[in-house]
Each structure stands twice: as C-alpha cells, then as structure tokens.
Symmetry: C2
Subunit: 394 residues, 2 copies
DNA sequence: CCATTTGCTTTATTTATTAAAATTATTATA
DNA sequence: TATAATAATTTTAATAAATAAAGCAAATGG
C-alpha cells in the first residue's frame, strides 16, 4: 500500500511491517497463517515481524479459533488502547479538541468558540490548556500520544507548511501553523484541510473500511470536497484537488469568490441558499419557512435539491468513487431527503453502474473534522508505524 | 514510483532497477554518481544494477563529460532502438497500426478503415497482416517487439479483460479482446480506453515529461477524458474515472445517452454542435459557415467556446492538474482559438494558481491514440522492466 | 496414548544491499 | 614528464532481512 521510494534494504522490513499492520486492521482479527497467505511472506518472516509489532504494543494476541483438527490459530488484533491520538479541529468560529484511541473512539472532547478572534496565536492560547490537559490524561493512563492531527478550513501549502489565504480563513494566511504547534506542544503534527480530514474520518473509521475510493462532500458556509482513491488521499498538483464547490453548475450565473461563475457553492452553500431565498438571514429560518410551506422557500428548497442532484451526478462521473459521503453544517437539514437524492442521482447514471453507486451520510456529525484530524494521524501510523512512533515519548 | 506489494526480498532489486531506469529516462542523460544522489543507493549497487540494464540492452553508455578535474562521468541513456513496440488504435470507423521505438518515434504506420464492419473478429482479420508485417520488420532488424498496446473507444473491465458496452462501441460488448490478441499474435497485450491512451501519449512522449499531473480531453463524436496523477493513470472504482464529457453543464438540458441531463457532451461534441446548429450534418460544413459569417453558425460557435470555457474551469477545480491537453477530431477546428480559451479560463481561476495553469494542444494529432497505445506499453516497461521484457523473444 | 493434522518458531542458507577499500581516469602542478 | 590531487566507478568483505526447510507445539480422534 505504501510506495517504497529509493530503497535501502532496511526499509523493506518497515514496509512489510506496515503491510502486516494494515492487513490486521482491515480484517479486525487475523491469524499468522492468514497473513502468510495475504502477504506472500513466509511464516518465519511473519513470526518475526508480528513479534516486533507485539513488542511496540501496536497489536495484541487474542482468542484462538479454527477448524476441527490441529493446533488453533492465534488471532491478532490492533491494540487500540496502548497509544492515543489528539485531534484538533480549528473552525472559523469554534474549535474542538479530542483525545481518541487508535480505533477513533473519543475518550474526551472539549469544544469552545473563537468568535471574533482573528489572531492565530490567540486561538492557540485558547486551545492550549485543553490540549495540555488531554495530553496529561493520556500520559497518566500510560497511553502516550503519538501525534496531533489538525483540521483547518481551506488548503495549506505542503512545502512551506503555511496556510494559503484563499478563499476563507482571514487572519491565518501565511501562518506557519505546523512548526508553531510542534514547538508549542512537542508532538508530531499532521495538518489537512477540513474537507480532507472529513474524508479521512470515513476512510479509517467510517464507511471507507471497505470502500477504497470515496468522495466526501461538505456543505456549509462553503462547499468543499475530499477525495480518497485506492485508499490514499489525493491532493493534486497545487493542493487544490477536489474543490467540488467550484464546479460550474450554472453557466452565466453569479460570480464566485474564487473567480469562476455559477459555482455550485454560489447557490448550494448556506449563504448561497439565503441569497436565493432572500427571506431572511439564518438557515434555521429558511428551513422553518420550508416546513411552514412558504412558497418562495419551498421553491428555493426544490432548486437546492436539484442543484445537489446535478452536482452529485457530475461528481460520480468525474471521480468514479464507490461512495459519496455527505456532511457539513448544512447537511443535517437535508438528511431527510437522502433517499430521494439517491434515487434521483441513480436515475441519471449509466445503467450498469447504478447498483454500485452509494450516497451516504457522514458518520460523525458535528465531530467529523475532529475525528478526521485523529484519522489523519492514524493513517500515518499505518503507513509508517515505526517512524510515526519514533517521536513518541513513552 | 511503482508500488511494491507483498515483497519478497528479490523484488527489491527489480524495484530499484525500475527506479534507476525511470530516472535515466527522466534526465535523458545521467551519470552513475548522479544516480547515487537521486536514488539514495550506494555506488556499488548502482554499478551492479546499471550493468544489468546495459546487458538487457535497455540503456547504453554515451559520451563522458564533467567538471575540471578528476575522472569524467560516463553518461547513461535509454537505448531506444534495441526494442520496439507496436501500437494499435481501433476506432469506430478506422484503425491504425504503428511500429515505434522506445522513444515513441514511429518507424512505420498503416491506416485503414473499418466502416460497416461490426464484427470484432473481422476487424482483427483486417489488421492482422499489417501487424504481422510490422512484427517481422522489427525482428529482421534484430529489435524484438516487447508488447502490443491497444487503444479502443470506451472503457474496458480490467478484471474480465472484456469490453464494456456503453456508451458507444457497438458489436464489441463483451468481446475478450485481450486474450484474443494475445493468442493471435503471441505478444504481451496492454489495452486502454482511447482517452486514456491519449493521456499516456502525453505523459511519456509529450507534455507530461515534466508535468506529473495532467488531464487529456478528447473532443470528437463524444467527449472523453484521461487523467494522470503523480505520473500514474487513474482509472477509478468502476473504470469510469474522468468521464469528463458527462459533467452537467446545463441543468435542465438535453438528456444524454449516459442517462444524465445537460452533459457537456450533448452540446460540445461534434453531434452536439450539429444538433444545436441544425444547419447541416457535417462538421466541415459548420466551420465553413462560421468562416463565412453565417449568423446562426457564429452564434453556435460562440456558445461552443463558452461551454468549453466553463467545462475546463470546472475540470481545473476538480482535478487540479498541471496542464489540460486538448485533442480529438473536433480540436483541429478549435486550435486557432487556443489563446482565447486560455485567457478566458485563466480569468475564472483563483488568482494564486493562474500562472501555474496550462492549456495545451495534443502533441500527436491524428495519431494520438496510436502513439498512446505505444506509450501504454512503454509505461509498463519502465515500471517493471525485467518482467515486461520476460515475454519477449530475442 | 499415539498418530495425525495444523499453526507457529527456529535454524541454515541465500540474496541484495551497504561500507569501505581499491582501481581507473583525468587534470593540475612541480 | 613525472607526480600529486581529485573525481568516478568498481571490487570486496560484511551485514540485514528475507527464504526454505526442518522442528516444535497444540489440538483432535481413534
């Protein structure tokens, strides 16, 4: 699953270890013989590598089980309580810090709001005590934290580790968030765009357990996307892969902040809906009006669903995923229409892929970003177990 | 670059050899010391592996060159004339077979038409003598053919090796083309969709030499796409990744053969243009009318360019490629508008990516598919040199 | 209780790497 | 013109991590 770059011989071992660890995760519970079959490695090698994984505490032996005769198979499982991960979701007006085990289960979670705070340092000041406290909690339980995953709005430049400004996280442009966090908390820090962390939450802890190709669509103040292909996050040449809010849905339509015209985001995001409705300025109000049967609101709602239908069809045809997962602040209002959306999109697909097409709801609701931040670290661990663990103080 | 699966120790060598071969290709000409730096392998290993590559005939030593003092560097190059590749483009109404060297240079090419022939076997009967003759040519020159690359319209099921029917290659649904060709010609056979082979032609022999992420858009009787990300072809979960002709451009528009409505293909393909124009049924006639200033035709042309502008903007935002390459039967009529298209699309992009955005013309014109078929085999060779060469009779 | 089966571990061997020394080729300098 | 200096490549001995095959452990059934 990992790509093996130049290759010093030593790295082969690490690669095989990662391969084994991933297979253990995939199967939840698996014996050494099965690993022999799946990996193509010999039984001796499996013995050695699993032993090393047992020593690190990443896996454990559990019950035995097997057929009728012969020695029973010892099942191996991921050990989810030996190490912890901290996830940090920095939103535009709020934050959430969570302590989670390796299965993505939240042990503890703190939320807070950052309304009006524009200075990144001040936001970190606000977050710091909670984060430190979670870190202490984990260490007290002898489950050291292997890393800090961070979910932020909008894309980041991987080379410089700084945030890109557009379209929407004022005050944070150019802030060297990665190095700042590493210095401040002494943890391995991993950062991604919120749409992408959401996609990773599904990949590792949600619907993606089986689906190797998925697209997460987050609808809120903007519309964003995260793509996982063959189990890997796709970022694109400029880090802008999967900006699904900026597909042109209405040629000749409104000019978007991105420079394009008729973007789905201009009509399908929360601000987009409110602009089209022009009956108020809260999304709650809008859906209230819809429920009350207000004709303008109902009409606007119909259009919103139609745009969603068009956009999702386009996205199936461009990304060919196993599943599209829907989430974001707007989505709770749309959940009740899911089966309708499904059938309308299916009706527009090639007949021969219709059954293979899935549209689902995000698994973690309001905590999707925070869980995704955790998943970001977990993915790194499964891809490079020893290296990721290396920086961890036991 | 290649993904190393389970991993027997022996495979490490193959992987390193592939890595070295790719670096030699990338740099056109490179010395052993430079390979040491680039791969991270030691000089001894580089000596061994390059020696083996020299023996297979895949590379050669060329001139020496270097700084002021010390022993000169011996430059290594890909040897392009020792092995040959045959490319076969099967179109809906014509075919092309080419013999090419490893640099993608056409040594010989034969075209023919298949109008009215619906039976795959009959098409192969027509192609066979030309193909056999090219194969003999190559063997006579002591340059054995390492494989046969095939470009076909519409996607194929990788698991079964059979052609999928929709949307458009009547008579070929379910035909086991891969096994048929392998049996008939005794060559390693590699098959891909024509949009994808076109993309590969650029990847290996055209604009993709530097660009790691590219999108090829082919406009003709339909509109198709091929995506290369991080140097690898992307196919998607159902083999339908990059069906760019089926993005919804006009909500409420015409129903497409694919089942979707308002697809770009319904308005932007050759049939789409002719339907909108309704002034005749040849594309030559249409562009003639445009040149003569016929108002309806001019209007239709304006729309066509506008749709193209919208579609390309959407595609940049969804795939984030380094470059979008335009080709297909329709494109020669549009070439003169390229710089206009460029500036119109750029005007709609995020300001900070505007300079990194490139739109270019396909490199190989009418032979794009055939060259792409060759590139398909070349890519396999660079990824797994010894294995690909294994089946070749010297 | 012993033969049989199956799962896991151990040991000797192999392979492709690394590290370091040796060789080759070239230029600068005495 | 010999010789020192430098740089590129090759050779050699040592090493790491795999394989292959034999051995051990744990279970069932007559």
């Amino acid at each position: 699953m990992t790509t093996l770059k130049p290759v010093y011989l030593q790295k082969v071992k690490q690669h095989n270890m990662a391969d084994i660890l991933q297979k253990i995760w995939e199967h939840e519970s698996i014996s050494r013989v099965e690993l022999v079959e799946l990996t193509g490695l010999t039984s001796g090698t499996i013995t050695n590598l699993t032993q090393e994984l047992l020593q690190t505490g990443l896996i454990r032996e559990s019950e035995t089980s097997s057929g009728s005769v012969g020695r029973k198979r010892v099942m191996l499982k991921l050990r989810t309580d030996r190490y912890m991960i901290i996830g940090l979701d920095i939103g535009r007006t709020s934050f959430e810090v969570v302590l989670a085990d390796l299965a993505g289960r939240m042990i503890k979670s703190v939320e807070g709001n950052t309304v009006g705070i524009r200075n990144p340092e001040q936001v970190l000041d606000l977050v710091a005590p909670h984060l430190e406290s979670l870190k202490t909690d984990a260490t007290d339980k002898k489950s050291p934290v292997i890393g800090l995953g961070v979910s932020i709005p909008g894309p980041m430049d991987k080379k410089t580790g700084k945030l890109l400004s557009p379209p929407n996280f004022p005050g944070w442009e150019g802030y060297p968030i990665q190095s700042a966090l590493e210095r401040r908390f002494g943890l391995n820090v991993f950062i991604e765009d919120d749409a992408r962390t959401s996609a990773l939450a599904e990949r590792w802890y949600g619907l993606g357990r089986k689906a190797q190709d998925l697209l997460f669509v987050t609808m809120g103040m903007g519309i964003g996307g995260g793509v996982v292909a063959k189990g890997e996050l796709v970022v694109g040449s400029n880090g802008l892969y999967g900006q699904v809010g900026h597909i042109t849905l209405l040629p000749g339509g409104e000019i978007c902040a991105c420079g394009n015209e008729g973007c789905w985001e201009t009509v399908g995001s929360i601000p987009g809906i409110l602009r089209r409705w022009s009956g108020g300025n809260t999304i709650d109000g809008f859906f209230q009006a819809v429920r009350e049967g207000d004709p303008a609101a109902v009409q606007c709602m119909q259009e919103t669903l139609y745009y969603l239908e068009c956009a999702l069809t386009t996205l199936f045809n461009t990304y060919d995923p196993d599943v599209i997962v829907l989430g974001g602040k707007l989505y709770p209002y749309l959940t009740m229409h899911l089966s309708e959306i499904r059938s309308r999109v299916k009706a527009r697909m090639y007949a021969f892929v219709r059954d293979r097409l899935h549209i689902e709801s995000a698994t973690f609701g309001a905590s999707q970003n925070a869980v995704g931040a955790v998943a970001l670290v977990f993915g790194a661990l499964l891809n490079e177990p020893l290296q990721t663990l290396a920086g961890t103080k036991t």
